[in-house]
């Protein structure tokens, strides 16, 4: 056992050396391997390459001498609604997520417009661009307020709309044929930020175990009307949220699930629905297949025949 410790300590000092070379810092006395408990490196001085962080902290020293970056358990599924199945229309929902080794999780969900012929392409393009743009250490590092988040979120939206425009040109079709809603969320150690255009919603469970609706649907007077990224009013009607809080669980979903998940008019979360989903996510038998079969179940289908997307996330090591 003592031998093991020695080996570990040696490994640690070697890593420290590589680290210092890579980050071009002179080795500082308080960071010598003899005091492994003090290896608290401030986040801002972390190297920018995600790979480096992974090698130094996660792979080699799992017991983490510095604060362990948050790891996330994420499950998501999009299923085609029964109406689209009948009519032979593809599932127009799309979702993507990425967690980086510095403990950041980015999730994007889009719901293509039923009336548009290529909305599934629009939805897929939008979520891909969002992930590419936001899963970026440098960009997120600058976010510390709603204002800075709004700037980054609208920039991300512009990128997504720009990519859809290019798609539209390549298909030689009007932009509206690619109409889609879009919502995305960034989770970091101490803050959460969300942006949403159109319907769908995000519900979180805070560390105080309370459920909160982070964003809720943007819609017109009638239930079959909403706003799309391609709409003129997209940015003006967007929901923007930045909160300094450490959420333990999150659920982001498209409007197909709304009837089951939110109590209107307050858009408050329907607790049994989320408690069971979060419980499922933290259980040993959680899998994307099981989530998908839940979404395909008769009970859910009875309430909606729209495409459905749910992405669930929970902080690992969270003591529920």
């Amino acid at each position: 056992m003592t031998q093991m410790k020695e080996i570990l300590a040696k490994a640690r000092s070697l890593i420290r050396l590589w680290w210092d070379i890579l980050t071009r810092r002179p080795p500082s006395p308080e960071q010598k391997p003899s005091s492994p408990g003090d290896e608290q490196v401030p986040q801002s001085s972390l190297p920018k390459s995600e790979d480096l962080v992974e090698h130094t902290v996660v792979t080699i020293l799992p017991e983490a001498a510095r604060p362990a970056p948050t790891a996330w358990r994420v499950l998501g599924a999009s299923v085609q609604g029964s109406r689209h199945e009948r009519l032979g229309i593809p599932c127009q929902d799309a979702c993507e997520w990425k967690s980086t080794t510095d403990g950041t999780l980015v999730i994007a969900v889009a719901d293509g417009a039923g009336s548009a012929t290529h909305s599934h392409v629009g939805a897929q393009t939008a979520v891909r661009v969002v992930i590419e743009h936001l899963a970026d250490f440098d960009r997120l590092q600058k976010i510390d307020s709603e204002k800075s988040w709004y700037a980054l979120a609208t920039e991300t939206l512009e990128k997504a709309v720009g990519a859809i425009k290019i798609q539209a040109r390549s298909y030689d079709l009007a932009m509206r044929e690619f109409a889609t809603t879009l919502s995305f969320v960034v989770l970091r150690q101490h803050w959460i930020a969300a942006f949403q255009i159109g319907d769908g919603a995000i519900v979180v469970r805070d560390s105080d175990k309370q459920l909160h609706t982070l964003t809720y649907p943007v819609s017109g007077e009638y239930v079959n009307e909403t706003v799309f990224v391609t709409s003129m009013s997209a940015v003006d009607s967007a929901r923007v949220v930045f909160r300094e809080s450490s959420v333990s669980h999150l659920c982001i979903f498209t409007d197909g699930v709304q009837m089951l998940a939110l109590q209107m008019p307050t858009a408050s979360p329907h607790a049994p629905f989320f408690e069971s989903l979060f419980g499922f996510l933290d259980s040993l038998d959680a899998s994307a297949e099981r989530l998908e079969s839940f979404l395909r179940s008769c009970k859910v289908r009875e309430r909606t025949d729209d495409d459905i997307t749910i992405v669930l996330a929970s902080r690992c090591g969270y003591e529920g």
Partner: protein, 221 residues
């Protein structure tokens, strides 16, 4: 108070979004005989067709306003699963103008109820069925229908049964949706079409272009 509480229970028990449909039915004396009989059967068929669709029967709400010498709300809004079709009796004049205004007022009130309970809803429909010439002024009604259509407050359909004053109906109905003539006594077909249309609407997703089923089963081209 009791009414409000019952209403609250109704929306709590059935939180589905609502698709309101007002049947505005001419029950003047000219409708007597075969016509009113066929109309009654048509309303029954409407209920039966929607009942087969569990989602639509919880989303579609029917109200019936009949008009003859007086305008009467004989069925306030009710979801199809709780709808008990009345037996209509034909007698008296054709107070159509007043009836149309009442239908628009009823819809406005219903939307307020939906909002109060946080219930989502689709754009409501008014289906006017008449075989006669209005005995009151239709000017205000025509104006209000056009405005309501322009403001996307309502979808207005006019159906003319044999003997109806087509000129006046054309004035009332929005220009982009002129009145249709009913083929003989094809009420059954008309109401089956209406139930299919309600099914399509009551499950339409945001911004979906709604394609209504063809009307050639009941309307004269």
């Amino acid at each position: 108070m009791t009414h409000e509480m019952l209403e609250m229970v109704e929306f709590a028990e059935n939180p589905e979004p609502r698709c309101a449909c007002v049947l505005l039915l001419d029950t003047s004396s000219s409708m007597d005989g075969e016509k009113i009989h066929a109309l009654n059967q048509g309303v029954e068929a409407f209920k039966d067709a929607l009942l087969e669709d569990s989602l639509a029967s919880r989303r579609v709400e029917v109200a019936i306003i009949s008009f003859n010498s007086k305008v009467e709300l004989i069925q306030d809004f009710v979801t199809v699963d709780k709808f008990d079709p009345p037996t209509l009796i034909a007698q008296g004049r054709t107070e159509m103008g007043a009836a149309i205004l009442e239908a628009l007022r009823l819809i406005k009130l219903r939307k307020e109820t939906y909002k109060r309970h946080g219930t989502l809803y689709y754009r409501p429909w008014v289906l006017l069925i008449t075989d006669g010439e209005p005995t009151d002024s239709i000017d205000q009604a025509a104006k209000d229908v056009h405005k309501a259509e322009d403001d996307k407050e309502v979808v207005f359909f006019a159906v003319a049964v044999e003997g109806a004053d087509m000129e006046k109906l054309k004035k009332i109905a929005p220009n982009h949706r002129p009145p249709k003539r009913l083929k003989e006594l094809a009420f059954q077909e008309l109401f089956v079409w209406l139930s299919k249309s309600m099914q399509v609407i009551s499950r339409s997703a945001p911004d979906e272009q709604i394609t209504l089923p063809p009307t050639d089963g009941w309307s004269v081209i």
